[in-house]
Symmetry: C2
Subunit: 414 residues, 2 copies
């Protein structure tokens, strides 16, 4: 029903992308990206719950909540434009104004995103230079989307993009038409999304009501981007935007029917994929950690328990060291908050071929250390916990804690 | 009024200590300690809020909440006796029974403590051997107290002990008598106390009502042990015990009068000192981080803000790297939970000779990078934040995040 297709933000019809090396902070690499839709889009967004909100977050919240439509996004990497006061907001306004003039669209239909060091001001001359370049080189090719996903990276080691396709009834009643959702995201440190991720941009050519678009986004975020953590630090810049331009020609989705359900499922797939890739590419990470909690009493408790485990520094360090010090998982479940009986839960370590139960009946079990080492030497560390309390479940993703995380973050500004 | 004296748990009258190398896990070092009072003590305690409570924690909670008196403590390092089910509790009972027989005191007046790896069972034969040795070598010398504080260390690099003296009216009305409070603690990783610390043992010869003793302990813990964090992981074994044997001969403290106030102040000093030393000796740490939040609207909010900063992996890594990436402090304040206006707060970095304001009026300030580097090269990293909201304050202590933390915790069990 829903299948993966190649590409990212330019996979849906009518979306173009561009990038350039504006020299904002990084040298010898692209550091700005632009997205543009050939027609105005319904827009939905989720933003950081950090009280200290970066200037572009404040700008975007205004566009998403007041205007509810947009047609372009301008993003830079290197400087976060956070804790920059009135100057930061003025730079946002000037960037949007210049972009609007170049693209011949309203100023308030330009969304902005920044990622990088908190504190410094953005150099407006470099931003203007970048907007000039990019507005002339917009393209709807797959390559343009991929290049944009690379331009927004900071300490990311790989770019993250994903796209899916499914079919909905056409607007003219002539049959089914393909509908696509594409996306890109970045995020490597200061990753503990609260309502959304560091920076994520999703596009779709689906014709869908704006309120439903926002509802769909708000529905999938709690089980995708909000279930990952690299270091427990909720960023000042977290922004996830979803633009829908209706170019697919489907019968507009205006209620929570089968078409909406299919769109929601496609959105979930793309958000989960991008989120998991962000977790696995956490700063300094050598591998992804997955924690699934099932048979929990409530969804909320399942989420809290799973997130506590993937957020534990001791669990993260043990995965890096391939040391099956499994008591630490028990410990992290125990301080997560939700009530449970430690005598009744079971905890497992899952390898590609084998599963070890290392805790049951209130005791850490004697397990085969060699098998545990072999499993922890695989490319992912997957744990699960059967709560034996109900039928709710949740999965969280994180990464190991390594020497390189300390190295990267001991000297991030230089 | 209250002055520091040398020594630790044996500084108060009538307390004896011993230690031995029982070979429980570590080789070629002492790994068990015993405390004994010549007369029964009123006892107070605070324990981990982790749902997964180690067997000795369950045992001690029973003694403290039901018996309310105790006369001896037996502690081992190397194995935590946590997640060990019924076997773990049986080992606790057998240890207490054997100790009681050797010291000729009731079984339920023996408190127990364990620290180390979660999961394995304690070897009862080694414990019995240790109890036999220690019960014959109890001593009230300062050296015996110091040796005990070393025997309970795990990855700690220094032992932690402290003692103070003050004067209270004597019981016979003949004048004032000296009253002492002493203590020792250990803790280096899995340190994020919730109601108390990893392992802490306090002694006093003060004659004081048990209910007041517990009240005093519960009063000081929220601003001392509960304000430190090494890695955000609340242990399964956190235990803080306070034994009062009344040997000072003071007029018993039975109400919240001046004597109680003085005792409370002494207890605060000793708990703060031990807590700060635990934070500074966090696993792999090169320096202590202090965050003071003042002029906050409520005490609770001040605590939450201060703890958020010292718990941030990014702040911790930046202190290790001596990189004044001060936006990270803003970020950690912003996601702490309490509401505040980012435009109105001020954040400072305090050196021994100089203070830098690096955030005010909603903007990270241009500060002298060389001065910041010089301050961050000092032995402590001290930050503060003026909330400009009220008159409440709190201070939290943590440590930097280093390569050695990752190394220690990637291979803790071996």
């Amino acid at each position: 029903m829903i299948h993966k297709i190649s590409g990212g933000v330019t996979a849906p019809k009518g979306f173009q992308a561009a990038c350039c090396a504006a020299g904002i902070k990084y040298q010898n690499r692209t550091d700005m990206a632009m997205l543009y839709s050939v027609s105005p889009c319904a827009v939905a967004g989720t933003f950081t719950r950090n009280l200290v909100k970066a200037a572009p977050v404040q700008w975007d919240m205004d566009v998403v909540y007041q205007e509810k439509t947009a047609q372009a996004v301008v993003v830079n990497a290197g400087i976060a434009n956070a804790a920059t006061g009135k100057t930061g907001l003025e730079i946002c306004r000037a960037t949007a104004e210049h972009t609007a003039k170049k693209l011949n669209i309203p100023e308030k239909s330009v969304l902005l995103g920044s990622t990088g060091v908190i504190g410094p001001n953005l150099p407006l001359d470099r931003i203007v230079f970048g907007v000039d370049c990019m507005s002339k080189t917009l393209s709807d090719t797959r390559e343009a989307g991929t290049a944009a996903s690379k331009a927004i990276m900071t300490t990311d080691t790989v770019n993250k993009e994903f796209a899916v396709e499914f079919f909905l009834p056409s607007a003219d009643g002539s049959g089914d038409v393909p509908v696509r959702v594409g996306g890109m995201s970045k995020g490597s440190g200061m990753i503990h999304p609260n309502m959304c991720t560091m920076l994520g941009y999703l596009t779709t050519d689906c014709a869908i009501d704006q309120a439903l678009l926002q509802k769909a986004l708000s529905t999938v975020v709690p089980d995708t981007f909000n279930m990952i953590s690299v270091d427990g630090d909720t960023s000042t810049n977290d922004t996830l935007l979803l633009l829908a331009n209706g170019q697919a020609g489907n019968k507009p989705v205006t209620q929570e029917d089968e078409s909406y359900a299919l769109f929601l499922k496609a959105l979930f797939l793309i958000c989960r994929d991008l989120a998991v890739r962000m977790a696995g590419d956490g700063e300094g990470a050598t591998k992804l950690i997955e924690m699934r909690v099932y048979n929990a009493d409530t969804k909320e408790n399942a989420r809290a328990l799973a997130k506590s485990v993937i957020g534990s520094s001791l669990v993260k360090a043990m995965v890096f060291g391939k040391d099956a010090n499994c008591g630490r998982i028990l410990c992290a479940l125990g301080y997560a908050g939700p009530a449970f009986d430690p005598e009744k839960i079971e905890v497992f370590l899952h390898g590609e071929k084998e599963t070890l139960c290392f805790y049951t009946d209130g005791c850490v079990q004697d397990f085969d250390e060699e098998k545990a080492l072999a499993i922890l030497s695989e490319s992912q560390a997957r744990f699960s916990c059967d709560m034996h309390m109900g039928d709710q479940e949740a999965t969280a993703w994180g990464c190991d804690l390594t020497y390189d995380y300390v190295k990267i973050n001991g000297d991030y500004r230089s």
